[in-house]
């Protein structure tokens, strides 16, 4: 080991450490900026009141409600479909062309830009199926985006179930579906929940797809059916941060909205991480 090599190593390792710290600092700055500035406006009224005076005062209740509706609607579709698809891929599909095509399709769905999903939702749900700009058109569009996340997580969960479980059950004369339902699925459920929660976080934060398929700038009333337009947190943040006459004056509301959105999305992510960690530990013991 020459002196030069040792010196090089010292320099390189310092640079590596600085880079890692830099990334950590970026994350902390973003979180602090939003939290500190958004915290002051947070109150029960902010969360439960309608916006007033052209959205320069009042709360964000309809936007929160809209986001909750979107989560329920999109997950209601994507969750069963995603889990069934994962069961097919892991337990039934033989390696070969069909399985390969399905997996490539999933990879491409996961990598398709959100605005392209928005265009598709507009062409298919809003126009072709005639739902109009509506809650259901947006929820279905978001469901398609959530699908690859749920399928992947469910597949990973199914893979971790030991083969012996399946053989033992099948050897007892239990049919394949009963084996899956009673032996394979129960240990895989935590992993599937994790994937679902990650997908919820994604759905709650998406803006471009709902902007094209049904989110409204401002509505004086709450949506009364699945064919109504709606307000939602991410679109609301975009609108009040970029449009309107008094952007600087409504800055506190903008920060407040950003903080509420960030809190919802990150708490879903955090829950997912905690469940995953809990069950990994359990699996190891």
């Amino acid at each position: 080991m020459t002196k030069k090599a040792q010196r090089d190593q010292k320099i390189a390792f310092t640079a590596l450490r600085i880079s890692a710290v830099l990334v950590a600092i970026i994350v902390v700055i973003i979180l602090l900026q939003i939290t500190i500035n958004g915290y002051s406006i947070l109150s029960i009224d902010f969360l439960t009141e309608m916006p007033r005076n052209r959205m320069t005062e009042g709360g964000i209740y309809p936007a929160i409600l809209g986001t909750i509706y979107l989560i329920i609607g999109s997950m209601g579709v994507a969750l069963p479909l995603g889990i069934l698809a994962a069961i097919y891929l892991n337990e039934y599909a033989q390696p070969g062309r069909t399985k390969w095509i399905i997996e490539m399709a999933i990879i491409n769905l996961a990598g398709t830009p959100s605005v392209v999903f928005g265009l598709f939702g507009l062409a298919m749900f809003v126009k072709y199926l005639g739902y109009g700009a509506s809650l259901i058109a947006s929820a279905l569009t978001l469901a398609l985006m959530a699908l690859p996340i749920i399928i992947r997580a469910s597949q990973e969960a199914l893979i971790t179930v030991p083969e012996e479980y399946r053989y033992a059950s099948l050897a007892l004369g239990v049919t394949k579906w009963q084996t899956i339902r009673q032996v394979v699925l129960p240990p895989a459920i935590p992993g599937m929940i994790t994937g679902t929660i990650l997908a919820v976080g994604r759905v709650a934060g998406e803006t471009a797809p709902i902007l094209l398929t049904g989110a409204a700038y401002f509505l004086p009333r709450l949506p009364d059916s699945i064919y109504s337009q709606f307000m939602a947190l991410p679109y609301h943040l975009y609108v009040i941060a970029t449009a309107g006459t008094n952007i600087a004056q409504t800055r506190p509301i903008q920060y407040g909205t950003a903080l509420v959105l960030l809190t919802i999305v990150l708490s879903f992510n955090m829950i997912a991480v905690m469940i995953r960690r809990h069950y990994r530990r359990k699996l190891r013991n």
Partner: protein
Amino acid sequence: MTTGHYREKVIESLLYLSGVTAVIILFLICIFLFKDGLALFQKYPLVEFLTGTKWYPTSEPHQFGLLPLLFGSMIVTFGAIVLSVPLGIVVAIYISELAGAKEAEVLKPLIEILAGIPSVVYGFFGLVVLVPLLQNTFDLPTGQNALAGSIMLGIMALPTIISISEDAISSVPRAIKEGSLALGSTEWQTINKVIIPAALSGISAAVMLGIGRAIGETMTVLMVTGNTAVIPGFPEGLFAPVRTMTATVALEMGEVPQGSEHFYALFAIGSVLFITTFITNIIAEYIKRKYRFNLGSGQ
């Protein structure tokens, strides 16, 4: 044939149907996107769309030139990749080779948070923090420019690049690493001359995915790049406002009458976006599989 057997068959068909949904959806996306995208070319020549240098969708006569938007997307993506790839790889190396268990336990959740922040929140942060900062630092007429987009997209691409590079680095067989150390190399020489080259194809998959992410990102660029549809110069164009393909679709779709030429032009842009990300996804997947195979045969 018992009823039980019959039920099994029904369930299997149901599962099969769910399984192929992803394929059907992708197929439907192609059809609906291309159908409305191609409708533009019944009245507006394809060549002019692909080579036109002006995007004037509302003037008479309309001009739907893709180039300013394409170059807008490219310059922002280029900047994002230049910023995020070296930083991402370096952090991946740090996490997998140098960081202690405790450090990794802090860094990894932070990076997961980075991946979880919605793009509109990044856009908002960029708008209220980064844009004024750039404007003051470089004394520009506006801080809403390509560079602001590149920096924000770079931050957003970091988690993808870090996590895939980390996978690639940690899947380099230990024997190779220990061989290098046993020959008297320093740890850094081992990382630099042995581990990184061995992990390179995996890292390049990360770069491809990062490019795909950056090209397709919408809300952030919409909020911080200024959205002026002119072909940017290089490199000075980094400091000027640009407009990307994604931002154009999101901005203009709300105002166009359905079925107008402008409406179809936005679908044509969507088709270009879809084809571009489709290709980057396929390449990334191909690289990933190939490198897995290489490691398998090397052991």
